[in-house]
Symmetry: C2
Subunit: 329 residues, 2 copies
DNA sequence: CTGAAAGCGCTAACAC
DNA sequence: GTGTTAGCGCTTTCAG
């Protein structure tokens, strides 16, 4: 494998001059530039990224941390992030936390060891005080999650409004007993969603119940489980804001198999507007969210900090969501 | 940020000794080892990976190339790969080809520029002659795809058997007019699946038709599109092997909305055994495949080549699949 | 416009 | 057991 010195020797110039050509620097005579370029092509030479990275102290790599990639919301988010990152000349490292604090710290260590230039957190497992010290190693950004105090850029959905809209819709459909599902109840984004939910209930003098609130609702199987829990209740909710289309699909399917009429016996509203909503029977009412845009904005923002070489500061971008009514409500 | 020299100075030893402690080499006195360890901890020092990588010419990073991450099969595959890679001390870079030859070459360039130690190809866009020259830069492995000649490790499903089993099942259900969907018809894995399909038909003296074969069948929307094409045919198939659960779900949903009885008017069999199969109405008959195992085996195999520092050679591992019967057939 | 020289932070012969 | 030395391959002052 040829290196820059070999190219320099063949062209009878210094490594510096070759480097200038490689990096499109000015002040190289047209003649030499041509010669060097042709030798580079001939020998099929490409610069060693490792050496470059060490020298410039940049990796052009971003890490994206998510609970689990195996979920269509995060799949789409990563797709959006990955595409935009590639356009901007960055690579993307995937890190899954599986809701584990230690795994999240491993991502932080990548930043510390100079393996990546920045981190996009698509979930937040640790306390902010644990994350904060890592800011000195490079920019960190919160995406799809919220924190009330953390001093970093936050790009998220308007969760409060989403929760509010969903429940307003259910109330308008005549429901008075409405339940809620958390992905994880320690997520502040989910807490805000719940606030919106509660606000809408309060405005109509309605209340929810503890036993109508479910935690760890992430995928279809969680939906199966949650339906079973609901089905055992004496006083059942008549409507449910699941916070997630997969969970909605699981609940709906199990309900139908158990003889429920949807939405008459149980109205269900999802979140994300995945294609899944269109193939179930009944189709699923949901909250539509701009996933790709969330990804793009996150990438642009973190690259801005990387390029600017500046410490991140708190700034909040809230993307708005929209209610999409289908057959399940 | 402290470096190895600083640690050495404080401990009044050479960088070498510090390096030995860092890498758990023997021949360091217990006393110095303790002293150095404690200073490392105190200063919160971690070695710069970039420098290490340059020196050792290793990155401990694998790239996984897939058409699009935004698909539950590839999401699960990446999950399996990513988990096992982390266990083995490797990071995973995600690369999406979007079925584009150029994007696949970008992955190859990562290998050439020393940005990764090996590549797992979850799809194959270019001719083998285009890929082959890159083998000199590091190990490449084919996963979930097949090639009749390529001299590299191939870990795939027994596609022939899967196609055969699926069609046998449809024939036993009384079907004589059976259609087929390709993800991409240039995929040799898919071709093998088709061979199995044809073998089963031939054994029963049945034939398929060109207009019952559909290409670019990847997701739910493709399923919608394909149903519309079927619905326009004069002579329609009565059963379909879609090669993909999403496509199956899309076809089934559109069929039901258009008044078809499933499976009476149209039997549909998917592939992958995603959870999606369990929430549609009717539930979807499919081919169950060991996705996580495919990922794990791929990682173990490529790491074996990386560690052994040897050129890859052709070897084929075929994982077997199983028919899972539900309501759609 | 061009090149010499220094050095990013680390590891690994090799000598003692 | 330990330290000296020489790079890995590149970019970037700085001097000419």
């Amino acid at each position: 494998m040829p290196n820059i010195e070999e190219i320099a020797k063949i062209c009878k110039v210094s490594k510096t001059t070759v480097s200038r050509v490689l990096n499109n620097h000015p002040y190289v005579s047209e003649e030499k530039r041509r010669k060097i370029s042709s030798v580079i092509k001939e020998l099929d030479y490409t610069p060693n990224s490792l050496a470059r990275n060490l020298r410039t102290n940049k990796t052009y790599t971003l890490a994206i941390s998510v609970p689990s990639i195996d979920h269509s919301f995060f799949g789409q988010l990563i797709k959006g992030i990955s595409n935009e990152a590639f356009v901007q000349g960055y690579k993307v490292l995937i890190c899954q936390t599986f809701y584990d604090k230690q795994n999240e710290l491993k991502v932080m260590n990548l930043l510390r060891n100079n393996e990546i230039d920045g981190v996009i957190l698509g979930t937040l497992e640790n306390e902010w005080t644990v994350i904060e010290p890592h800011l000195k190693y490079g920019p960190i950004l919160l995406c799809n999650e919220y924190h009330e105090k953390a001093s970093l850029p936050i790009i998220c959905y308007d969760e409060f409004e989403a929760g509010y809209k969903a429940v307003r819709h259910l109330i308008e459909k005549g429901h008075k007993k409405i339940g809620f599902c958390y992905d994880t109840s320690y997520s502040q984004a989910q807490r805000q969603r719940k606030e919106g939910f509660l606000k809408a209930l309060a405005e109509s003098n309605l209340q929810t119940r503890n036993e109508w609130t479910f935690d760890r609702a992430f995928n279809i199987e969680d939906g199966f489980r949650i339906f079973n829990e609901i089905n055992k209740l004496n006083e059942k909710p008549t409507a449910l804001f699941t916070g997630n289309d997969q969970v909605a699909a699981g609940i709906i399917k199990k309900a139908i198999v158990n003889g429920y009429e949807i939405p008459e016996d149980l109205a269900v509203i999802g979140y994300d507007n995945q294609l899944l909503c269109q193939v179930t029977t009944p189709t699923i009412t949901t909250i539509g969210i701009p996933i790709i845009e969330l990804g793009i904005q996150s990438v642009l923002k973190i690259i801005q900090y990387i390029r600017g070489n500046e410490g991140v500061k708190r700034e909040i971008i809230r993307l708005s969501t929209k209610l999409i009514v289908r057959e399940s409500t």
